[in-house]
Symmetry: C2
Subunit: 317 residues, 2 copies
Amino acid sequence: MQIDYKQAAEIIRSCDNVHILTHQSPDGDTLGSGFALYFALRAMNKRAAVICPDGIIQRYRFICQGYEEEETFEPECVIAVDIADPGLMGEVQQKYENIVDLCIDHHISNTMYAKKTLVNPNASAACEVMYHLFSELGTKIDDNIARCLYTGIATDTGCFKYSNTTPSAHIIAAEMIGYNIDFATINREMFDIKSKERLYLEQHIVDHMETYHNEKCAVLCITEDLCTRLGVDMEELDGVAGLPLQIQGMEVAVTMKEKKPGVYKISMRSAGKINVSRICQQLGGGGHVNAAGCLVTGGLDDAKAQIVEVVGKALGE
Amino acid sequence: MQIDYKQAAEIIRSCDNVHILTHQSPDGDTLGSGFALYFALRAMNKRAAVICPDGIIQRYRFICQGYEEEETFEPECVIAVDIADPGLMGEVQQKYENIVDLCIDHHISNTMYAKKTLVNPNASAACEVMYHLFSELGTKIDDNIARCLYTGIATDTGCFKYSNTTPSAHIIAAEMIGYNIDFATINREMFDIKSKERLYLEQHIVDHMETYHNEKCAVLCITEDLCTRLGVDMEELDGVAGLPLQIQGMEVAVTMKEKKPGVYKISMRSAGKINVSRICQQLGGGGHVNAAGCLVTGGLDDAKAQIVEVVGKALGE
């Protein structure tokens, strides 16, 4: 059942012993909204724990600064943040999928699996929804909460770069950077810093990328062997699929990752004009307009030829 | 003489036939503030022309969309935007340096060369100063002005990433993206898109970068020969100096460009902890805490050794 901010605030006021659930491979928005809620609940003298499937990678550890791990407790109330679908709960799906009391989200694709759902699809981030919920609750923003909310909004808007950035995202950011948060370091950690190995991987990609259709389509092939050889953790691979779109005139970037011999996981990214979700649907996959994926089987050359052909049709080549 | 917003508005109201001056190698902030002022003056039925030394590179051409080149006219009033020092006027310095009536700027280093100067060193961009001046003037913001002001603020804050980003910068951005401007494309053009040649240059840099002091200092050497070989325009070089700071743990990045045999122009960038202005001062140069420069003469190895030594001291190595 969809509810509004007032009703969600009512649930939060009345609940205690809360498990806050973030999605698997947690990013800045699910962690930011989860820990912001934790700090708000703690300020209300409630017991709370944040459950992060897969754990938190090094880059995001700063978000939970100030978090105090409680002894395990049974939750009276489960709140999921930024989780559009129980399938994103990862290793804790079985335990939680049927007992989520409240889901706070911004995905239009939310499957309404929770008992009550507060979803604002116009918000750029779950943290934007959380901010408005805090206004309703009368939560006093402090440095910890400001750091969390800022991080989530910056994450999901690509540091205010993408078209999903709302005026409200900027206005909240204006307020949050008034607190004692080192947003420049946060942004540097989230958007700029790479391991040397990652830089070498990018270099390898530029070097070995194949281009098709008048340089409007690029195809990268990443094998486990390559990652091992360059010493890159699979954790370090996010964003790689979009790399070729940095090149002037490039419209579609295709990344092929060998899952097992003869099976390729395809990630497709668009610079904006081409709907890659539609392309991937033709290959049995799907996704968003600018980011989609599918599985392709066969030999490397065959798989590549299949993909290049459908991309070519979409490009009108 | 330093003046306030009210006095600057008075000057603008009373002047006509205006030459608006931007600095050499114009960037998004000088162009954004210059063209925003142009559109505001045109709306007041004043004659105005924007003078851009060096011309406008392709990436920034979208800013002047809607600009109508006038026949050459003699200015009654000259307004410089984002120009801290007449030395930044490039090829038009001699013509204009002594006749600037009003300078609108945000650099604390402004040399007060103009008859009247409106400078707000707390502003993240000249466009932020321009916005407040427009408020004083009662200028009606339109799509053209919004596009210009947004671009300038995004440019100088690294798309709201850097520590100079003010709450006011976010609040102005919130208002500007409410107009019909394609800020996501602007940001993509300004921050993401690179020529293939530029990507190859970056790859070369990663490959040939030397590191010192426990990988906290990187030294790059860029020769004209290298640029010619890789087919990179010198226009494409901004941002290169900061490239090594992407690497985890890197504190100082030094770029050496050979100006002529035995003379190196040094650009130094800091990730935040080290004051590179102080380091460059020891070598006869200067600049900002995070971005500074100097000239060093001598053979390549000698020049490099000199720099690496002073950086080492600053790093406490």
